[in-house]
């Protein structure tokens, strides 16, 4: 079943500047999708459309098979949750972790036991219950990103939309968060936007390659990495620095 879909979407911020051109894609349950491209390729804008933070000029965004509009937006907000790149700016420094985590419950009007949900979300991201009473400044970058993921999980979404969620982190922290995303993928579907093909290859069996607002190649990640069909994908792969054997 398609959880999220874009159908022939065009989007631009002002007249004449097209950020997305004729973009169609589908997010299938249980099939993590990676979206790769360089700065200005339109991948973050595509994520904003999937989140419902922007509407396409032409084409449709579908959420659980329904066109995304005002009547379906509230359900969509529970259905998908975002994780952003920078854990230093995406958390309110004045709030405790408990307040940060319960904010989506309040905003989405979810009738749940907040304390139980906070403990469940902290446990899911492998943080101790004591973290709830502390503020973001008490945590490292990797721990802050775990809090941001916990905030996304508290609404029990079906899809996690993550925009470069590990690119601001050190290598060892990045590896432990990749493990966390892999574990979370057992329960939900991940849409991962990144310029880092290695992170996408580690987490996503499906891949979309974007260049200048267009999808230039899409298919199974392994197949694209082994035999890229488009010249841009080949150039991207050839540019990747590799470890010596």
């Amino acid at each position: 079943m398609s959880l999220l879909a874009l159908e022939q979407v065009h989007f631009g911020f002002s007249r004449g500047t097209k950020v997305l051109r004729d973009v169609s894609l589908s997010v299938t349950q249980g099939q993590n999708l990676g979206i790769v491209g360089e700065s200005g390729s339109g991948k973050s804008t595509l994520l904003r459309l999937l989140l419902g933070l922007a509407a396409p000029q032409t084409g449709r965004v579908l959420s659980a098979g329904q066109p995304l509009d005002r009547s379906t937006m509230q359900a969509h907000r529970r259905f998908v949750q975002p994780v952003f790149q920078d854990p230093y700016t995406s958390l309110d420094p004045r709030m405790t972790v408990r307040q940060i985590l319960t904010e989506p419950l309040r905003a989405l009007g979810l009738a749940a036991d907040p304390e139980a949900e906070v403990l469940r979300a902290l446990s899911a991201v492998r943080l101790l219950p004591e973290a709830a009473d502390r503020r973001p400044r008490d945590f490292s970058g990797g721990q802050r990103q775990r809090i941001a993921i916990a905030r996304a999980l508290i609404a029990r979404p079906k899809v996690l939309l993550a925009d470069e969620p590990v690119s601001a982190l050190d290598l060892s922290t990045r590896a432990s968060l990749i493990d966390l995303f892999a574990a979370l993928s057992q329960q939900l579907t991940l849409v991962l936007v990144s310029h880092d093909l290695a992170v996408i290859a580690a987490l996503c069996p499906s891949l979309v390659v974007m260049e200048q607002g267009r999808i230039v190649e899409t298919g199974p990640t392994r197949q694209i990495l082994d035999a890229p069909a488009h010249a841009y994908t080949r150039r991207l792969l050839a540019s990747l620095p590799r470890l010596p054997r």
Binding site: L171, R174, V199
Partner: protein, 268 residues
């Protein structure tokens, strides 16, 4: 003879030791990669080499650049070494360049400084020729357009090329590059790395390349020093460190990098 040698370099903030007992040396033409994670002390080490530590931080030990001691010397005595012996390229060219000056005006500063140090006067015509030559040296197309542009009017890759051109304008013997490709896209990163590789090779520069990105360091350095918690935990040739790391920290770091590299599959 060493161009750069550090002996027991330590950096303190009050009673807190941020960098401890760092030793390494670079001869002309050497390429050393300094790797480590955030807070390991690699950028502070680089700043200490040029006497650029922020107020409140105190360096001890020895740093000798082209035979001259840097630690403990007043700034006016270190200033002639900067640019002429060693120059630095920083991570974010947007922050390193003045947004209110054209790139041409910024590039003129080190060119004039070198001419003054050599006791030469530069005519407007000479200055313009030298600025164009500096941009051509870093493979910038349409140098006249770039000279007239402000930093926000050119791409990230072009900004970093201009920053490299400024660093090289005083004809240094050592280039210190602190995460110079971290803020760039992967294909722009490959171009800037190829440029640095060519410049270092053709001009016989020594290179101190600082990065947390192990594959990038493996591609450009010959030797690697691994820093953790303010100390160098392991030093050696790239091939040796990446194939048989000895320190547990290096082993963990390379295992994490290897895992991501393996996810990409066979190399093309």
């Amino acid at each position: 003879m060493s161009l750069l040698s550090t002996l027991g370099l330590s950096i303190r903030a009050g009673t807190r030791c941020l960098v401890e007992d760092v030793h390494f040396s670079l001869a002309p033409g050497d390429r050393l990669g300094l790797v480590g994670e955030s807070g390991s002390g690699k950028s502070l080490t680089a700043l200490a080499l040029l006497g650029l530590l922020p107020p409140g931080l105190v360096a001890s030990g020895s740093v000798r650049l082209a035979g001259q001691q840097v630690i403990g010397r007043p700034d006016r005595q270190i200033a002639p070494v900067r640019g002429a012996v060693a120059a630095m390229v920083f991570q974010d060219p947007r922050a390193a360049l003045d947004p209110l000056m054209t790139l041409g005006a910024q590039l003129a500063v080190p060119i004039r400084r070198r001419a003054k140090a050599e006791g030469r006067r530069l005519s407007r015509h000479d200055l313009r020729d030298r600025k164009i030559a500096a941009l051509e040296r870093v493979a910038i197309d349409a140098p006249e357009r770039v000279l007239a542009a402000f930093p926000h009017q050119v791409s990230g890759g072009q900004r970093q090329r201009v920053a490299i051109a400024m660093a090289l304008a005083c004809r240094p013997q050592l280039l210190i590059a602190d995460e110079p490709t971290t803020a760039l896209d992967v294909s722009t990163q490959a171009e800037v790395l190829a440029l640095l590789d060519r410049l270092v090779r053709e001009e016989g520069l020594a290179l101190l390349f600082i990065s947390h990105d192990l594959p990038v360091v493996a591609g450009i350095a010959e030797r690697v020093a691994v820093m953790a918690a303010g100390r160098v935990v392991e030093t050696g040739p790239v091939a040796e460190i990446f194939s048989t790391p000895r320190a547990p920290y290096t082993q963990a770091l390379i295992a994490a990098a290897r895992r991501l590299d393996d996810a990409l599959g066979l190399r093309r």
